[in-house]
Symmetry: C2
Subunit: 319 residues, 2 copies
Amino acid sequence: MAVYTEVTDEALAEFLANYAVGDAIAFRGIAEGVENSNYSLRTSAGDFILTLYEKRVDPADLPWFLGLMEHLARRGLSCPLPVAGRDGQALRELAGRKAAITTFLPGVWPRRVRAEHCAPVGAALATLHRTGTDFLPTRANALGLAGWAPLLDRCRASGDDVQLGLIGELDAILANILARWPCDLPVGHIHADLFPDNVFFLQDKLSGIIDFYFAATDILAYDIAICLNAWCFEPDGAFNATKARALLGAYHAVRPLSEAERTALPILCQGAAIRFLLTRLYDWVNTPPGALVTRKDPLEYLRRLRFHRGAKDWQAYGI
Amino acid sequence: MAVYTEVTDEALAEFLANYAVGDAIAFRGIAEGVENSNYSLRTSAGDFILTLYEKRVDPADLPWFLGLMEHLARRGLSCPLPVAGRDGQALRELAGRKAAITTFLPGVWPRRVRAEHCAPVGAALATLHRTGTDFLPTRANALGLAGWAPLLDRCRASGDDVQLGLIGELDAILANILARWPCDLPVGHIHADLFPDNVFFLQDKLSGIIDFYFAATDILAYDIAICLNAWCFEPDGAFNATKARALLGAYHAVRPLSEAERTALPILCQGAAIRFLLTRLYDWVNTPPGALVTRKDPLEYLRRLRFHRGAKDWQAYGI
């Protein structure tokens, strides 16, 4: 739930004057997204999303994010298209923040994932990976392999308050992941955060992908590993092989996975699990207990991590 | 900012099947409103707001709120119209909460109030009061006169932590208000919370009034007093007579104020100020300091209260 920055009517009107989208007809904060302030904006020209970029996004990264979205949208991927102003620029300032308008995507994100959602997600991810290949600028993944050890260090002092022995277990697991991480797999632009709340559906048909603000250039199959973690475990922690088979199979049909990618899948899944475990753990130990924000349980990902450590190859994921 | 209750796609689809509004095309939580969960809902039939009523709303009051909104909307006031299902009912259950769909109102609420907003607000309030007269059911105002002393008692233990001597000052002021409160003024249905975030404008023309969940049957002129507090003070605490003159004058032109109402305005304004002071104070002393919700400063209303204590009659309000 997030609107961190309020926008006055005068500031909004002045901002919109930079665009050929007419005047505001409706303007409401959206209670979703934890990083930025998002507004649903209706103008005489249609529906848009207005995003104000908050502290956790590096302004220097914004042209890359918007450039990738434009590249993907122009090539037919259903994702927000940044709207350029009369000066050709999509990125400007509003209320002391960097801000951009993007097109509105219809659809509803699945609050409860069903197996029918997973094949469309796999296919869309593969399409995203293929479509991104001719976008040339790159962005290093700040939350990729190199980021995990420093993140674990920042949780070291109070991580064991969450579960006794947790830091020791994570140290051992991370050392193993770092030692076994593949360095010869195909690299490209990954979404890196393709959780259910970033995928819209209309009658079980995938209608759009949003929130590219963790996107980066990294191992493509690592993005699959993130999706397996995000889409294929049940609320009780159980792995759902039917969902994973659907997701992987549909991905493979659009962008066939090499033998090396298939073999690496369990270690990539461990990496994805520890990445979300660590950011959740960091937020957990740094959020005051009285705070009204919902802290996400890091231990959910410890259970997934243990599952992936038992996986031999991609056949463990339902194939 | 508020979405307290999540709605699964299946539950939403099942809920919408009760209505002749088609299927969901978009469904997003709205980061506004502090009492209930509000979703912006687009279906093949148009745009709507879906509200799930949370704990602070008494389910027994909902038929009255929805009945009043329907009454007002049917008579031309621009406010949300509850949408009846195929069974004729507007109120049903969703995700364990009472829930209703209402029509979507275009417009943007003014983040910064200008004098031009105040005449339309006064006129709309008077129209609301006139239009409400033939809605016969009544609802006692839980946050009216009788509610203030109990509320002050619940702040007694820690109120002085906010400002030394605060509780003593409020005890004296409240005793004076209770002694001087008028009991012979015209009564009707009041909005009771007509703050800027509940009033939409399109190009400085008032386009709608929302959020009737504090509405009650009480002294009509008390509703004006709430608006004078809500619309006619500057961020630095200064009273803006131009705004008040516009608001009062426009109200008076639609529903002329009697001599008794004009004379009572300063004490009604004190009552309105202490009502918002007390609910803010209660929230302040009961919100953990680490919480990420924005606590509204109760002392803003202490300054307004002092201003109203110096007012002799309605001429103090710019007339």
